[in-house]
Symmetry: D2
Subunit: 285 residues, 4 copies
């Protein structure tokens, strides 16, 4: 399998963008294997993801970004180039519930998900043994309401030391402070156990049970400074009935949480997610 | 096909309720064909729906309610008896969009749904011809913000004159006044085009599009004085993507609306829905 | 809304196809609003659908196909050009069950589906009145096992006289003869009431009930000479339980049939379906 | 939480069964917390599952089965009594793929699934380490086409020695011989990675890809001597598209396999599954 480059770009819509982009790739010797584009007609904004083989590209990786500079000058395009074999260092943040974190590590070990987990960080010690078994470093950073900022400073130090580029909140039950969140735009993925925007905040399964809904859901989204308001990457649902107590909703929801979080992380790592305002374009995998 | 009676009951949970109920049915010569019960353990409340053949029942229909009086005295049960061949007169309220109303009428004409539509009532004239073709009376009751109470008085008069026992809001785009709603507890079914409690109020598909959700839903519920807060009977969802504009959500949602509303109306007419507080028990069909 | 052209093409995969295609559209003054492509890596075949605005195209519609001739000579591409405001004449074939045919006509009248129904043809008279109400001509062509070929000759004559380009089997319960089918490659859409390839042939809901499945499905596919073996366009499913008798499966299935058939017809009419061997590429709507 | 007894029964349908059953439970001091019944009207067979608290039952567990003897004599009922705190010893059979087996063990360790895994048995050594970490004994029983009967004799010896009462084929890629299977009626659960009866036999994801289906599924069923023909306990599906190659179907299917197998095992362990002929009644959980 040869390496692929992925060009992501967005700009004001106008004629000729695809012709220019595809032409540049072809001229340099790249071979497009997947081109997906989307135009938001309401906003007049164009988005594209172009994946191409680079075996015969006439420039090295370091110069490839520059090859697409004419897109910036000609179309005022916001664009970037990525490589599918360069996987960003990723930290998983967890509290006590293990299912999401262990599921991601299990997919990684099985070779199913190309994630690069350099650390699992938790405010509790519970998962230390299970994470160690997977061969990933476990950082226990306890926190109390009084020590949140210090703990987040420790956290940031760990992330920096490890060169982390993606943070996954795999059922981390603390609300990160706005200062931390805004330093990581579109690079913190959270799994919220409700069908947002319904049941924001704490204990969503209890809220869902109290409201008597017949379907529950989960939401994977990028974290922003406004709680549970960030751009949604993926959602899914499962039917429930009057027989299901809050504990049953929690159990049924867990099966959704692992699947939806894994799908969202996969989409992010494959550079298929573009954020525009508070919404996402998620190209097909 | 012989007629069936349906006994609905709820009371504080305690031992012996099913034995007493099933014993009474059997002693009188009834044959249970379906018994469903549910205990809300949190609230300590028992609910049951008992369907039985009455060919050999030793009492006539008029006396059958009395046969279960011991459940009231012995268990303080709130109970009622219904017959599956006595279908309540039903009015459909619509505005301009036809899909839900015509779908219900189509199911009725095809013999698929045992509804008894005695009137379609609308604040617009648009559907008069289509409804007439189905052989149902059409009442055009125009309304403006200034005339709502007068129009609702006309509406109530029509409902009373026709002996209506169930009102279905098949995309009726006016908010009924609390006075009218409270006169019809658990007898007005609405289809709301969002996955409640998300996107209450007007233009939910536009709200959903603005929020960037990846799944949209619809909700059938009993109408109460609090807008979009009544007990939920059924919900369902469909996946959407960044490609879907608000008009696409509307189109995809319509397919859900007809199905979920029909399911909810069927459940109501089959006496499978019990309301407790703001939640429902919906026994299986 | 200005008109759009849609270029469909497939050829052996090689570098430069998208660049060439997008370049041609741009050079002629077209503005691409949607480009979707797919490469079947196993077969080494490239597929594309390119939708573009033609307001400023430098050639008229009659000459537009020729503008893309270099794709045929340069890439040996099998390609064709379509216009979104030229809707093919369509015939619906039905037997006695009304739901699929009336649903398509209802969507057409509501302006939701850009179909062009020039005839409903049936081996029974049952739906004549309902179809007439929709303003579409009804052709009653009775058939018996002995008269199938004569009836199909009548049918073909009607289709030819009306210039029909798409035939939709909206629950037509006869098996068309191979001679007729092969004359309409990828232009006859059938809705089969099972999750193909399970339960081919007759009475699939009874087969499903006898097997005790927990999910039933429906399949929209192009008809080929091999019964129920044609390329699948769309499928969907619904959960069932031991409580559901064959009649319940039929009822639940009907709700799927109308939705899946409408989705498949929409995809076909929007030129989003490409057939390759016995499979389809269905680009996103 | 006090212990519950579960009475399962089936017999020819006739009046009075529920009254008799509920009366017996009540007379002995049991308190019914859940009664579910089903009548197959086509076959005229009645099925019931009655769950009751036994704190005040006037007989000990050893005598409880006898308390319901009148159901056998009076209604010719096939019935049995189970206790929710007596969990049968269970063996998991696996080959090389880990996801189903490790998922079940993970649910068990998290306290989510009341399974009693006394052994994991495999024809390969691959999962030994992971299973050991979960604290369950691993039995490596290699097999070749020539040694199948000897290996199955070893297998049977292990099951007998451990008092195993339930066998779960958690992606065990060998076909068990009819002699072994018939010795374990309705006590071997398999997860088949297709939507049965479609794609029986080997490599179902490849079969599904070759057929070009738009939805794939998985099936949990009891194993019988006829391959892939046993009574279905649960099924579920996921949408796929032309973009998905066979490897993608396998990946998407895995997420279904773990969930559907866990649901089926839970239903079996909660005594909610009754088998009749080649179909199941699965009462609600």
């Amino acid at each position: 399998m040869s390496a692929h480059a992925i060009l992501l770009g967005s700009c004001t819509d106008r004629p000729g963008i695809i012709a220019a982009t595809a032409g540049m790739v072809h001229t340099h010797g790249g071979n497009i294997v997947d081109l997906q584009q989307h135009t938001d007609r309401e906003l007049g904004v164009f988005f594209q993801r172009v994946e191409f083989e680079i075996d015969d590209f006439d420039l090295g990786r370091a110069d490839m970004d520059g090859a697409f500079h004419p897109l910036r000058t000609g179309f005022d395009m916001d664009c970037s180039v990525h490589f599918d074999d360069e996987v960003p260092a990723t930290a998983l943040l967890v509290s006590k519930e293990q299912h999401c974190a262990l599921d991601l590590l299990g997919r990684w070990r099985a070779g199913e998900l190309a994630i690069n987990p350099v650390a699992v960080i938790s405010n509790h010690a519970d998962l230390a043994e299970a994470v160690a078994w997977h061969g990933v470093a476990y950082h226990h950073l306890p926190v109390s309401p009084d020590t949140q900022l210090e703990q987040e400073a420790q956290l940031s130090a760990v992330l920096a030391a490890l060169g982390v580029e993606l943070v996954v909140l795999a059922r981390y039950m603390r609300i990160l402070s706005p200062g931390l969140v805004t330093a990581w735009p579109a690079r913190i993925i959270n799994i919220h156990h409700s069908f947002l925007p319904a049941f924001q905040g704490g204990r969503p399964y209890h809220q869902a049970h109290a409201r008597g809904v017949k379907v529950i859901g989960v939401t994977a989204h990028y974290v922003t400074a406004e709680l549970d308001e960030g751009p949604i990457i993926d959602q899914d649902v499962v039917r429930v009935s009057h027989r299901d107590e809050a504990a049953d909703l929690r159990r049924k929801g867990r099966d959704l949480e692992v699947v939806v979080l894994a799908r969202a992380v996969r989409a992010h790592l494959e550079h298929r997610v573009l954020v525009h305002g508070n919404r996402t374009i998620v190209f097909e995998g």
